[in-house]
């Protein structure tokens, strides 16, 4: 039995790598994907391109603009001279925010009178807009507070309300104190990259034999269905394993993603995760008759699996029915595990529930697929 499986595995490797380009593809595309994802997927909002329309041209107005700029969140690209230009820049998408400071800004501030600032935000990208508004509010608020304190201390009225006790709130961010989105995303990208490579390879390899007609040849050999299944999945499991190793290496050494937990937990968890992925690949191969169908079905599974995994969109914000659906998504569990290992330093005691769930899921999927696969052969 082992001899036959061994021969099947050798045959499969010859098949995959007969086309020399596949060597490059199997090992280069995951790394390429990680690099693109790592750099492109950033939700950090900084350097929002901004236009300033300063009608006041005073020390105070320039100081406020300077503070916006030095915060690092706003990049003042244009100083404009009329209202019309403001509209034009926003329409063309050259700026995402525009700030207008009125003529009497400084004089009102000096007289401790309330004044206002107009700000226009391009809401097309609602996430950036929300964060930009929040930053602007905070920076302007701090500046206003300072001026007020200064004014009050000059007028020396100790009963002024702003000198009464208030509340100081200190905030701290754990696990990722710099709030870098890359630290959160890159470990997750390892998981999704492997999923796609493994799914495509597994599902297409089986269907290919059927499409070209070599499946019949395999059937007449003494190879048993179970051996065929093992022979068809083990090579891709090995390739995927190697890819995980490669991509993790790039994540750690190229992107400087910290690993706070035990890296030794990774191989074990990867193995559990691959069980489900291979199972799904095998399942797709039992539905598809052509490689075209296999590829489309793979994407039909892969895209929702990624979107509904908590990779970019938190699961708790989804409608309840969908949240329920995510329990059958292997990526969901693996993301918690891999992020836990990388960012939080979680050990077995924290992760065993996720691992257990993933294992159960993997065993069920692979059993169902194997049964279907066997039935199709007979």
């Amino acid at each position: 039995m082992f001899e036959r499986i061994k021969q099947m595995i050798i045959k499969e490797f010859i098949h995959v790598f007969r086309d020399r380009r596949m060597i490059a593809i199997v090992f280069v595309t995951p790394v390429l994907q990680l690099l693109v994802f790592g750099y492109a997927v950033t939700t950090d909002v900084k350097e929002i391109s901004t236009a300033v329309y300063d009608l006041d041209r005073s020390y105070e107005s320039r100081e406020l603009v300077r503070r916006l700029e030095s915060s690092g969140y706003f990049n003042i690209r244009y100083f404009i001279k009329n209202n019309y230009e403001m509209q034009e820049l926003l329409d063309a998408g050259k700026v995402a925010a525009a700030i207008q400071i009125n003529r009497n800004f400084s004089s009102e501030l000096k007289n401790n009178k309330e004044t206002e600032i107009q700000m226009l935000v391009d809401g097309t990208d609602s996430n950036t807009a929300t964060i930009a508004m929040d930053y602007a509010n905070r920076i302007i608020g701090m500046y206003a507070k300072e001026i007020k304190t200064y004014n009050v201390s000059k007028s020396s009225n100790p009963l002024s309300p702003s000198l009464k006790a208030g509340l100081d709130v200190q905030t701290r961010a754990w696990y990722n104190p710099d709030l870098k989105s890359r630290n959160y995303n890159v470990p997750a990208v390892i998981a999704i990259v492997i999923m796609l490579t493994c799914l495509l390879l597994t599902s297409m390899a089986v269907v290919r034999e059927r499409e070209i007609g070599t499946m019949e040849q395999l059937m007449v050999t003494p190879v048993k269905p179970l051996e065929l299944i093992l022979g068809k999945t083990i090579p891709f499991a090995l390739i995927s394993f190697f890819d995980v190793f490669l991509v993790t290496f790039v994540a750690v050494f190229w992107f400087d993603i910290p690993i706070k937990g035990q890296i030794l937990l990774m191989p074990l968890n990867t193995a559990i995760y691959l069980l489900s992925v291979l199972g799904i690949g095998l399942f797709i191969s039992t539905i598809a008759r052509t490689q075209q169908q296999a590829m489309m079905a793979t994407f039909l599974f892969y895209i929702p699996a990624v979107l509904l995994s908590g990779f970019m969109f938190p699961i708790e914000n989804m409608p309840e029915i969908i949240q329920f659906l995510t329990y059958i998504n292997p990526l969901r569990y693996f993301l918690v595990i891999i992020r836990g290992i990388f960012l939080k330093g979680n050990g077995m005691s924290m992760l065993w529930q996720q691992m257990f769930a993933l294992l159960i899921l993997g065993i069920s999927v692979i059993t169902i697929s194997s049964l279907r696969f066997k039935k199709r052969l007979e």
Partner: protein, 369 residues
């Protein structure tokens, strides 16, 4: 180029597509599924932040402070804990994303003349949620602070912020127009990238070559049926966007369809080119994923702002047609842009399509020879 030959190839391709109803069905299910997921299931808006409270003061003032968080609607209090070691447990396991820690002397300080203090710990691993949560926290603290002082202090400078184009700041309005570009890139990648490779693999290419069909005729003939499928997908997506998700379409519908056709032509040509170069379906599927799907999804500005990417990657985005198409879609949908504003993007899309078509044509000729 003879029209009759193109027609013949188109007819052959249509028959082949008709024989594979499963793939055809998936080509129509894909956009519907993507739109439904993006429209209903996922959102970038942050609410229901799981929060754990460690209140060692337990006074009416501290409870009021916690209530302020509850009332905001952004925070859900999962538990009140009495042991501060539990904070670690809650955050480590992800049962809570935010911990509010209130010290014993919270109310005493507030009643006196000193500033009261509280500490709030945020799980920073999801930096986007954390950043937005921090914004909410500072706003809520400010409101509470003013309330306890008993006087509503109007700030000296009042920022009057207005949002243009998508004034309700719905992430749906921002994502769905761009999604149409992604859908088309996926369709182009999935449908066309295997068409020529399949003929090679099955050995039917030799039969085609022996006919008098010339390469531009063959490529055009193969493009037309997929163009039709892609066009129906665009129509479906636009109708779903407008009527189901109520994304405002401020610009001209016909302009939208016209520019979509140009993009579709480029995308499908790229699919064919990949198919010609790859020769095997396995190789083609992998290349098309990296060359069409990933860039359309990640580097087009559909969800992730290009201006936030490192300079080198920003340069790469200039050769990605989806980038131009996403700004066209967002422009027409949300800003009501006219063709005049979009001339540059339109020109580049055309250039891309024609160039890729020409390269595909040349590569195919070489293959035959």
């Amino acid at each position: 180029m003879r029209v009759s030959r193109i027609k013949a190839i188109t007819k052959k391709e249509l028959i082949q597509i008709g024989r594979d109803p499963l793939s055809l069905a998936m080509a129509f299910i894909m956009p519907v599924m993507l739109l439904l997921i993006f429209g209903y299931a996922i959102t970038l808006d942050v609410n229901n932040i799981r929060t754990v409270v460690y209140d060692s003061d337990n006074s009416s003032l501290s409870r009021e402070f916690v209530n302020e968080f509850k009332r905001s609607g952004y925070f859900t209090i999962v538990n009140n804990i009495t042991d501060n070691r539990d904070i670690d447990k809650y955050l480590d396991s992800g049962m809570a994303q935010v911990a509010i820690v209130i010290p014993e002397d919270f109310s005493r300080k507030l009643k006196g003349s000193k500033n009261g203090d509280a500490m709030i710990i945020v799980d920073g691993s999801d930096s986007n949620t954390a950043t937005i949560a921090l914004g909410y926290i500072s706003a809520i603290s400010e409101i509470y602070s003013q309330k306890t002082k008993g006087i509503k202090i109007t700030p000296l400078i009042e920022p009057r912020i207005r949002v243009w184009y998508n004034s309700e700041l719905k992430s749906r309005n921002f994502i769905i127009p761009g999604l149409i570009a992604v859908i088309m890139a996926v369709i182009a990648a999935l449908l066309t990238s295997l068409t020529v490779a399949r003929e090679w693999e099955r050995g039917t290419m030799e039969q085609l070559i022996s006919t008098p069909v010339k390469s531009p005729e063959l490529i055009t003939g193969k493009l037309i049926p997929y163009f039709m499928i892609g066009f129906i997908d665009v129509l479906m997506s636009v109708f779903m966007a407008v009527f189901l998700f109520e994304v405002p379409l401020k610009g001209n519908f016909f302009l939208l369809m016209g520019l979509s056709s140009i993009f579709l032509f480029g995308g499908l040509s790229l699919g064919i080119l990949i198919s010609i170069v790859a020769k095997s379906q396995l190789v083609a599927s992998q290349i098309s994923m990296v060359a069409t799907f990933l860039p359309a999804f990640l580097l087009s500005g559909f969800m992730y702002a290009i201006s936030n990417m490192p300079a080198a990657l920003q340069t790469v985005t200039y050769i990605i047609p989806a980038r131009y198409f996403v700004s066209i879609l967002k422009g027409i949908f949300l800003k009501g842009s006219s063709l005049k504003l979009l001339t540059f993007e339109t020109f580049l899309l055309m250039l891309f399509g024609v160039t890729v078509f020409a390269i595909a044509n040349r590569k195919f000729k070489k293959r035959i020879a």
